[in-house]
């Protein structure tokens, strides 16, 4: 496939080339490794919590907030997955999410039910998806250009609509809606008390696990559960059904798919509309569950972060869920004792970088890379030691900075669908 061939010739970093030749590079991520990594991360966080006294980095409140913030990012990422697996790059996720916030709020108010809002938000997002599909699939417009245009249109359109609709409602304004009807939440009540006491003890590791468990079991919105279920569902549809196979073949080699009788336009259309629908759900979650109100500019670039989470997750459902969790967590930290928590995070980053340097040196024998990584680790550690807290203005962009750092460390190992972002015209030969 031409895309891949060029991918290797123009492959970025010399580091990527060097790594490809190194035999130690390949290791498969298996379930035991994942579990071990998860536990190791908690141990690390726990140790950092004890050392720095930033008690909020594993508290139940932070974990609950992280879960809530990961959902819209994850839904946007799922949206990106659907469309990019069919070969359509969707930068317009942000705009579709914005549509989702407004339509979600409107639906919830109009029909006095949060679930009506969920449906309306999904429909609003799907409308945005349909515009993207018309432009990219039907008319063959460049995907990124169409996406940027949709983001501009989405914002203008919702601002117009909220002025038209919400301003006349009691409690509403030009930039915000009235309070929305609340959605039910699920709590496993009988373990709340014991976990809370355990968490308050501030013991090493035990309290952290208690905090995490409490955050995941108390006051979880039904919408969150729905969103989490959508991840395995997407996996099932895309990887375990004939429909999914055909959809993904449109993203890898549309010409071959067409030759086998797949209606590429139709599949791309379906994928992009579902993509918008999922992004719209993410927006609806923001207005209905996260804030309980529609506000102008509520998405704050989460559509883009979702796209980054999907790239981080290597265009796979499991990976993007991990990416969403990471970004949700960094997003949550800034809300919970922002300065102190993010400052503690610096120590985590320094330790992780140091571990990576050791790995590079011992297992991969890459001395130069190890030295650079160790230097970065030392630098972060010095910054950590020199300061007591991170200014609040800096904590606001923690998730964005994390995105940038993670992508710059992980980008080389990723493989996108081969025909992603290339407009397809029926009857083309290559």
């Amino acid at each position: 496939m031409s895309g891949q061939a060029e991918g290797t010739t123009t492959a970025p970093a010399p580091a990527g080339g060097a790594r490809a030749t190194s035999p130690a590079r390949r290791f498969r991520v298996t379930t035991p490794i994942l579990l071990l990594g998860g536990v190791g991360l908690v141990v690390l966080l726990s140790a950092v919590r004890i050392v720095t006294g930033a008690s909020d980095i594993t508290s139940g409140g932070t974990v609950a907030a992280a879960l809530g913030l990961a959902v819209p990012i994850g839904l946007a990422a799922l949206g990106g997955l659907w469309s990019e697996r069919a070969g359509v790059v969707n930068i317009g996720l942000e705009g579709m999410m914005v549509l989702g916030t407004w339509f979600g709020a409107w639906g919830a108010l109009q029909f006095h039910s949060p679930w009506a809002g969920v449906v309306a938000g999904a429909v609003g997002g799907a409308l945005g998806g349909a515009i993207h599909a018309v432009a990219t699939v039907t008319f063959g417009v460049d995907h990124i250009i169409s996406g940027v245009a949709i983001n501009i249109v989405g914002v203008g359109f919702t601002q117009y609509l909220s002025k038209l609709v919400f301003e006349k409602m009691p409690g509403g304004g030009t930039k915000n809606s009235p309070q929305l009807p609340e959605m039910g939440r699920l709590s496993v009540t009988f373990i709340d008390g014991p976990l809370r006491t355990l968490e308050a003890k501030q013991w090493f590791l035990l309290s952290d696990f208690a905090g995490i468990l409490r955050g995941l079991t108390q006051g979880v919105s039904w919408f969150t559960i729905l969103a989490i279920l959508l991840v395995p569902l997407s996996y099932y549809i895309l990887w375990r059904t004939a429909f999914g196979l055909r959809l993904r073949s449109c993203g890898e080699r549309p010409v071959a798919a067409e030759s086998l009788g797949v209606n590429v336009y139709l599949y791309k259309w379906a994928a992009v509309v579902v993509s918008g629908l999922l992004a719209g759900l993410g927006g609806a979650f923001l207005s209905i569950v996260a804030a309980g109100i529609y506000r102008d500019g509520q998405t704050g670039g989460r559509g883009y972060i979702g796209l980054a989470a999907m790239i981080f997750g290597n265009w796979r459902p499991g990976g993007l869920a991990g990416g969403a969790a990471l970004f949700g967590y960094t997003d949550a930290l800034q809300l919970r004792q922002g300065g102190v928590s993010v400052h503690a995070l610096l120590l985590v980053v320094a330790l992780l970088l140091a571990a990576m340097a050791v790995y590079q040196l011992v297992r991969q024998s890459r001395t130069v890379a190890a030295l650079i990584t160790a230097g970065c680790a030392a630098l972060v550690f010095v910054v950590f030691m020199m300061t007591d807290t991170v200014p609040e203005q800096f904590t606001t962009f923690t998730p964005h900075l994390t995105t940038l750092l993670v992508l710059s460390l992980a980008s080389q190992r990723l493989r996108m669908p081969a025909a992603d972002g290339i407009p397809y015209r029926r009857g083309q030969t290559t």
Partner: protein, 393 residues
């Protein structure tokens, strides 16, 4: 992420339709649309946008004719014309910054962060009045250019060294720039004046003088209009009359071909990004040096995204973008007049958005129409030729 761009820019013409006629090439003006078609496409798109806006207005229960009349009335007053010209200057510079990247298939979405960070730092330096008079203006400009170039350079380096798509990198850098700017304002450059946090105003002898171009109004036209025109000419010369411009366009059209002819693509990516950022750094300067003389919360926001839209409207052509900037500025500034008719001014935003979308599609349709017409003509010629031969025989 590198593969994303490698594969899209690597395929000849990136459009997938093959040959010279890739979509992006047509849209970004690398393929000339012949004669009247180049004009017809954007005109049709603007008309279509007006139509859609009319439908929206009708649904909302207002009269579209009244609305357009109000826009036109307001837009033709002398004072408004000067204001329109002034904001168009900013839009135009921002569009130029975006266009430099576009010509090389680089999407510098980060113009927004670049110009804001540049404006904050430049305002802080200018307000400190380190140098007297005109020298201070130069210092402010140099600082703005440097900051913009550096900020964009990060994205360029990340793309080249680490394979991070410039689209994602610049979007993230926008958010980081916002945080950094507000930190700089509250910790270093900002002075609290009543309720308003702003930088120290630039001294009167270092302000850009205005020009009384439009009669019948005391509103001066920003002196930066001249700078913007010079930048537009420089853009044209750089891209079309220099070796660097040729290499830039060549890389944008086909990366493998560029590599084969000895162009250092990685170096080009970083250089182009830095250049784009440098111009982006200037986008806030008309406001800073010519209007408000300080950076505060009232500083224009979102110029970068306006720049993207205008670069698309004008197909990266310096004259086309100038017209696009004027249209954009007209819609932005006249929208206030709609409120007198009890129409929300966001109507203008809808019209702007729809214009961009329909311009993109219109260019594509016009191009297809041309291809079909050409094929038909060629078909007729080849059909006619054997017939003539047969008659001769």
């Amino acid at each position: 992420m590198s593969e994303r761009n490698a594969s899209s820019s690597g395929t000849p013409g990136a459009g997938g339709t093959g040959g010279v006629g890739g979509f992006r090439d047509r849209l970004l003006g690398r393929v000339k649309l012949s004669g009247w078609l180049a004009l017809a496409a954007p005109l049709l798109a603007v008309l279509f946008a007006a139509l859609i806006t009319s439908v929206v207005l009708l649904i909302a229960g207002s009269s579209p004719l009244d609305a357009f009349d109000a826009l036109a009335q307001y837009g033709t007053q002398p004072r408004t014309m000067a204001v329109i010209l002034n904001s168009a200057t900013m839009y135009y510079i921002s569009a130029l910054a975006v266009a430099i990247g576009f010509r090389m298939n680089l999407f510098n979405i980060g113009v927004d962060g670049q110009y804001r960070l540049a404006a904050v730092v430049a305002a802080g330096v200018g307000g400190a009045a380190l140098l007297p008079g005109v020298l201070n203006i130069l210092l402010v400009l140099v600082v703005a250019v440097l900051v913009g170039a550096l900020w964009a350079g990060i994205a360029g380096l990340l793309k080249v060294k680490r394979g991070v798509s410039e689209v994602i990198a610049t979007i993230m850098l926008n958010a980081i720039a916002t945080g950094l700017a507000s930190w700089l304002m509250s910790n270093h450059f900002g002075v609290l004046n009543g309720n308003e946090l702003a930088t120290r105003p630039i001294p009167a002898d270092s302000q850009m003088p205005g020009m009384a171009l439009i009669s019948g109004t005391p509103q001066l036209v920003n002196g930066f209009l001249v700078v913007a025109i010079i930048l537009g000419i420089a853009y044209y010369v750089l891209l079309n009359r220099t070796r660097f411009g040729f290499e830039l366009r060549a890389t944008g059209m086909s990366e493998p071909a560029a590599v084969a002819s000895g162009i250092g693509v990685k170096r080009m990516i970083v250089t182009t990004m830095v250049l784009s950022g440098a111009v982006a750094g200037l986008a806030g300067m008309p406001e800073l040096l010519g209007e408000s003389h300080k950076y505060s919360n009232n500083f224009p926001s979102g110029l970068g995204f306006d720049g993207i839209a205008i670069a698309l409207l004008g197909r990266n052509n310096p004259v086309g973008m100038a017209l696009g900037a004027l249209l954009w500025s007209f819609l932005s500034n006249s929208s206030n007049s709609l409120q007198m008719l009890n129409i929300s001014k966001e109507t203008a935003d809808i019209m702007k958005g729809v214009t961009v979308l329909s311009v993109i599609i219109a260019y594509e349709l016009v191009h297809r129409y041309r291809i079909v017409a050409e094929q038909r003509r060629a078909g007729q010629e080849t059909a006619a030729a054997p017939a003539a031969e047969g008659a001769a025989a």
